[in-house]
Subunit: 339 residues, 2 copies
Amino acid sequence: MKLRDIGEFGFIDRIRNGCLIRPRGVVQAIGDDAAAFRPPVDRLMLLTTDLLLEGVHFVAEATSGSNLGTKALAVNFSDIAAMGGDALDTFVSIAAPGDAPLDFLDDLYRGMKALATEFDVNILGGDTTGSLRDVVISVAVTGSVPEDEILLRSAARPGDILFSTGFLGDSRAGLHLILNRVPLEPTWLSNLFNAHVTPRPHLHEGRFLAAGKKVHAAIDVSDGLSSDIGHIVRESHVGALLHASRIPVSPNLQMFCARFGFDPVEFALIGGEDYSLLVTVPEVHADAVAEGYLNRFQRPLYPLGEITDSDKIELIADNGRLREVPPTGWDHFRSGKNK
Amino acid sequence: MKLRDIGEFGFIDRIRNGCLIRPRGVVQAIGDDAAAFRPPVDRLMLLTTDLLLEGVHFVAEATSGSNLGTKALAVNFSDIAAMGGDALDTFVSIAAPGDAPLDFLDDLYRGMKALATEFDVNILGGDTTGSLRDVVISVAVTGSVPEDEILLRSAARPGDILFSTGFLGDSRAGLHLILNRVPLEPTWLSNLFNAHVTPRPHLHEGRFLAAGKKVHAAIDVSDGLSSDIGHIVRESHVGALLHASRIPVSPNLQMFCARFGFDPVEFALIGGEDYSLLVTVPEVHADAVAEGYLNRFQRPLYPLGEITDSDKIELIADNGRLREVPPTGWDHFRSGKNK
């Protein structure tokens, strides 16, 4: 069945079920001119938006609807995580041609509802419209955070230790597998594929780190490690020194780089779409924060460098040589890279 | 100059100025993973989103960037108006090809900032990304409303008088002029054109009517009078009876219909994109509400029918004959109409 067989309002009726996951405080969900809800008390509101285009951010034939829906929400949840917040409500706008298969769209919403349910987030509104050719997905997510716990890019200070909440470069390796149609066997290859198509938002990690009140700055790794550190460096008017030997590279990525002839550190530096969080912590609190994190999540917080006053991003290579890293990463208007 | 000449971050720097119009309560504007702001105290939050695609909702060659930007915000402000709210913050995501002319994009943001300034609304975030061909604009707008003043589609009751805050059908006439390349002389033709390309959001009108606490239901006329009354009828489980002779048709539309051979009532019924508000008011308060509105805005509130318990939309024609009106209007997946 095609989208045009049920029409816009038939489609809205079809997706409406299962969207109200956390009803408390919701006064009007899908079905009026706007959603209405009671805002969090004694907390800041957060809001982030993301626009995903077929042919630019995803290839409809190369992804399942469910994976696409999951990722569309995950990348926005990740932005809330990077502010130290809890995600509250999601608003999904979708454009699709009339001949779009309903199966794909049902699967898309199934993926979104599954991730929303896992993180106790509503799908509270959006917009549906026709498109000439491609599918377009626009997501807005609200969140909340106590004002004295908000994590900003601008709060890094020289001397802070720079941590990552996860491995870096896996997603870029997964993209390489997709673009080059590499068969996803053995399992470590499918793990890299999954890192790209269904990244995990580090919402619990971000909230835990913010609530501890020891973290200075934070950002999520969407454009790539060097580019995203660049945002912290620029907004905080600081520098950063990275240790190549400490950049967290997964065993999967090690095997991938050995097989395909890439340098894992370069892959991690310019990768993008990892959706780990980078956080900076004053040195005096760094050990305690890392220990608390390990106890809570049974995974380490990876220290990969320090914040400096150099106004540059520098990297100490394995051989001890220091070089400057350009804050290059993904620029949507300049490159043709499929992201 | 083209978009790719300055890149994504150059573009963000370029548009960032003049976006923070009402700084009070804003903790983080454009420039971090999410915007952060203090929510309104003792009010509900409202949130609405809209997705606009080149070739579907607008033709880039047929509109100025400024008009497009103004309309992109206006249609969202109108949704906040239909809830009885004040608009607070706007989030604008834009996708454009690398060869998009910067002049057009600058003009687009100029139009948005002008309307945002007029209604004291911030542009507080968004997303920028490349597209293969077309311009895509996604707008999210937050608002607030006291909980006991919110206007819902579901609150109409039999016996209510149905009012419109403005003329109906002008926008559809303007679209006809554009699609048929009719020269915009004399002035009454350009007035119809303007009704389509720069509709006014009835934010002050909606807020005034909500604050008076006498209005039951409200909706804005985006899909068309018959379709939008259909939403009230469906959500409120009521019917509606319209009087053809009372449907507010502007003198401009009268002249247009005389010249091009259309029926003004039909045009008003199925028009769409008027962005007037339809409100229902208990009969006992109807005269007082209309009088207060006239005093405040020096324009009438047009009574065009009554809410019934018929579960149907009916129309009394000028000759006294009663007929049922199908709640037809714009369905984005079923028709090829350019909207």
